[in-house]
């Protein structure tokens, strides 16, 4: 092993390439759906500032079960999603809708012309002599 470079050597694995190529469209969609659902549930929990423990308490579950759901590996049933929706007080459909970008700051500017006398002038021409 040469010790003459900075940073990790980039390594392309034929082994991993073969595994990735063998993933069927169905498997790929199943994994993606699990990730998306887990991400949406985690996002709603974050927006409500709800911990795993608190959601578990609401649902009468063990917190480890909530962790498993949020890991992105769980195969949710419609019944489980309905249970979670009730606990989070959101419609089930909310889990399938992409989250909206957060508005960090909403600034409203208002310009009013009230109480300005008719002979007042805000701008005067400037003459350079």
């Amino acid at each position: 092993m040469e010790n003459n470079h900075q940073g990790a050597r980039k390594y392309s694995s034929e082994f991993i390439a073969d595994v990735m190529a063998s993933i069927t469209p169905l498997e790929s969609l199943q994994v993606e759906t699990r990730f998306v659902l887990a991400g949406r549930i985690a996002g709603i929990m974050d927006s409500q500032r709800l911990s795993n423990k608190e959601l578990a308490a609401r649902m009468g579950k063990n917190p480890s079960e909530i962790s498993r759901w949020l890991s992105g590996t769980h195969n949710f049933t419609i019944d489980t999603l309905s249970e979670i929706a009730i606990a989070l007080e959101v419609p089930v459909m909310e889990f399938f809708i992409p989250s909206q970008p957060k508005v960090i700051q909403d600034v409203q500017l208002t310009v009013s012309s009230e109480n300005i006398s008719s002979n007042s002038s805000s701008f005067y021409p400037v003459y350079h002599i």
Binding site: M1, E2, N3, Q6, G7, A8, R9, K10, Y11, S12, S13, F15, I16, A17, V19, M20, S22, I23, E27, S28, V31, E32, F35, A38, G39, A42, S67, R68, L70, S71, G72, T73, H74
Partner: protein, 169 residues
């Protein structure tokens, strides 16, 4: 033990760098050995894990919810990825900050095959070496390249080993 940290190109992405470990004189990384050892019996789960890792690297980043952080001693920070009762495999990994994930080997989950603790101990030893180099500044996170930088080759001669008992592959 001489080894280097390598970047897994097929898994790394803009959200996180995914790395594994190549032991000297070996032609497969620890993660590839894990895949090779389990692809026969647990093909579907291996394919899922590979896709999960690619998602972490490219789309989701290293969120806490993906990891079972109770694994390993607190000092070595080794944790398990997607370690749940409904899974048959357990993959050990080491998180460097929030953007670099080093994946080692793994085992079948206890109760399935009587998993040995070797991959976890090996990665724990490696995590100590990496932590030591991070402390001395030999390894750091490069914001510009969004990658783990520095000297990622570890040699016993270079006194970069943890000094613990040599772990045989």
């Amino acid at each position: 033990m001489n080894y280097e940290i390598i970047e897994m190109q097929q898994l790394s992405g803009r959200k996180a760098g995914i790395y594994s470990v190549m032991i000297a004189n070996d032609n497969l990384s620890l993660f590839e050995h894990f895949v090779k050892d389990h692809i026969g019996e647990h093909a579907m789960e291996i394919r899922s894990i590979t896709q999960y890792l690619s998602y972490i690297g490219n789309r989701y980043g290293m969120q806490n919810r993906f990891f079972n952080v109770k694994r390993g001693r607190k000092a070595d920070s080794v944790c398990a990825l997607f370690d749940h009762p409904e899974q048959k495999l357990r993959l050990y990994c080491y998180r460097v900050g929030t953007v670099a994930l080093i994946i080692g080997g793994g085992t079948t989950r206890p109760g399935k095959k009587g998993a040995a603790g070797l991959p976890e101990k090996l990665l724990a030893s490696i995590s100590r070496d990496i932590s030591s180099k991070i402390r001395t500044g030999d390894i750091y996170w490069s914001e510009k390249e969004a990658r783990l930088s520095g000297n990622l080759i570890f040699t016993v001669d270079g006194k970069q080993s943890s000094g613990g008992p040599e772990i045989q592959q």
